[in-house]
């Protein structure tokens, strides 16, 4: 059966505007309309867009929803062999990324990473990085994204993995390109760029893994080598690359959007002097760094009245689910003591492994900023990264005054 009538689809088309700057900057009013119009919108390239909380949650966890669309696409591209460039390197890397894997390979790799990453004593590292970055900003007006929200997660991931902290600016550049492998719409040109970033990052992490072999320490890279149940060096290289990227890009999203959204509440929260995990969860719900997650159905799925055929591409809108008025009262308002069941970190077997780290970085950073700056203002219109899948700012000029 068809999920929606033709006229409904036409109406929905007005509100799924991934191409428009307006939509990118503030997708929430559009999501609201989409949720009202129906449970699913099938785009003109036959993607099934889901926007309601319960549907997104169910499908995110559904065993017949494959996480590896990108890998499947690249495999087909390689098989067809019609392109001048081979994408073998990129295919091999994405195959090794935890986020694109399905059970049982997913289960094994996740277990291996979890067993290697038991050291959660990152408090001192985060404090050190924050005080270094904050002290470096001595002007009254500065670009918070460039000075703090971008470098902090990169410096922190570098510290955890055990690579030289000074390498972060170059790694951020490459990791940003690599992160585009999550985009829903890519060209061959994009794939060539991403593959180039994979090559360069592979070389980098291969070198550093070899260093750790010679001189083991207590870093995550050393632990991965130490506990390796039999993965090839290349797979470890790809895992390190993935961890760096995953820990870096999305956290920048949280820290940049988070500060922008906190500014109106600055003095209240500052006086309350109890910046806690609930506030971070509400910031994550209100403005989720990962807005859309892609899936591919491996079997037909019956979801209420809707029958999704096998091999359908799904776009699960976490951003919209987190604003679903049937689950979150007054979703367009930040309510800091809300009971949180947001989907910003996903759910089920693909629930983010670094959620605790992102939250620790957020809590510590916002607390230190509140201690240091009694006033903060947004000095210029924030600049959004033009990306549908991943929500973040590329620039946030702030004006601050210290105690």
């Amino acid at each position: 059966m068809k999920a929606t009538s033709k006229s409904e689809t036409d109406k929905q088309r007005e509100f799924w505007r991934p191409f428009d700057r307006d939509f990118i900057e503030n997708p929430y009013p559009y999501y609201e309309q989409l949720r009202k119009l129906g449970p699913v919108y099938i785009t003109n390239q036959n993607e099934w867009v889901f926007t309601r909380y319960q549907d997104v949650k169910t499908l995110y966890k559904h065993p017949a929803c494959d996480a590896g669309n990108r890998v499947k696409g690249l495999t087909k591209l390689e098989e067809q062999g019609k392109t001048e460039t081979s994408f073998k390197t990129l295919l091999e890397a994405t195959q090794d990324f935890l986020v694109f894997k399905n059970p049982p390979e997913h289960t094994a790799l996740r277990k291996f990473i979890a067993s290697s990453w038991t050291d959660r004593s990152v408090g001192a590292l985060i404090e050190h990085n924050i005080s270094y970055l904050i002290n470096r900003c001595d002007a009254d007006e500065f670009d918070y994204v460039k000075e703090i929200a971008e470098p902090l997660p990169a410096l922190t991931m570098a510290g955890i993995l055990g690579i030289p902290p000074n390498d972060y600016p170059e790694l951020i550049e490459k990791s940003r390109v690599l992160f585009r492998s999550f985009d829903m719409y890519l060209t061959l040109r994009d794939l060539r760029d991403i593959q180039q970033a994979v090559l360069e990052m592979s070389e980098y992490f291969d070198f550093h893994l070899n260093q750790k072999k010679k001189k083991p320490d207590d870093s995550l890279m050393s632990q991965l080598l130490h506990l390796n149940p039999g993965y090839q060096q290349q797979e470890l290289v790809h895992t390190c690359m993935f961890l760096f990227m995953a820990g870096e890009e999305t956290t920048t999203g949280l820290l940049s959007l988070g500060l922008k959204n906190l500014v109106p509440y600055w003095s209240d929260l500052r006086n309350a002097n109890s910046f806690n995990s609930k506030i971070i969860d509400e910031l994550l719900r209100y403005d989720s760094p990962i807005q859309v997650v892609a899936r591919l159905t491996t079997q037909p799925i019956q979801l209420g009245d809707i029958k999704i055929p096998e091999n359908s591409k799904l776009a699960l809108s976490l951003g919209s689910a987190n604003h679903d008025e049937t689950v979150f009262k007054n979703p367009e308002h930040l309510i800091f003591d809300r009971d949180s069941k947001h989907l910003a970190f996903g759910t089920g077997i693909h629930h983010c492994m670094g959620d605790w780290l992102a939250k620790a970085e957020g809590i510590t950073l916002f607390s230190r900023l509140m201690e240091k700056y009694n006033k903060i203002e947004i000095a210029m219109e924030p600049v959004f990264r033009h990306n549908l899948t991943f929500r973040s700012l590329s620039s946030l000029m702030v004006k601050v005054s210290t105690n």
Partner: protein
């Protein structure tokens, strides 16, 4: 530099679509949506790549699905800048 008209862009696009789908030029309906013609996302990628090379410019892949027929896509490409 090559001067591109709507007719020329449409002709080029029709050729690329026909080649990709391995069908005759006259079977490519310029008013049909790409998806209805049988193009998938990989097919779109190949076509866009060749289009970028021929037109010597970068094209946002979203445009392809935003203007999902040969007619509308050609028109959009011409509007965007002088080719």
């Amino acid at each position: 530099m090559e001067i591109w008209t709507k007719e020329k862009v449409e002709k080029l696009l029709t050729e690329l679509v026909a080649k990709e789908l391995k069908i005759n030029l006259q079977d490519v309906n310029p008013k049909a949506e790409f998806y209805q013609l049988g193009l998938d996302s990989l097919g779109a990628m190949y076509i866009l790549d060749q289009l970028e090379k021929r037109l010597e410019r970068e094209i946002n892949p979203l445009l392809f699905w935003e203007y999902p027929t040969i007619e509308s896509f050609s028109e959009k490409l011409l509007q965007q800048e002088n080719l």
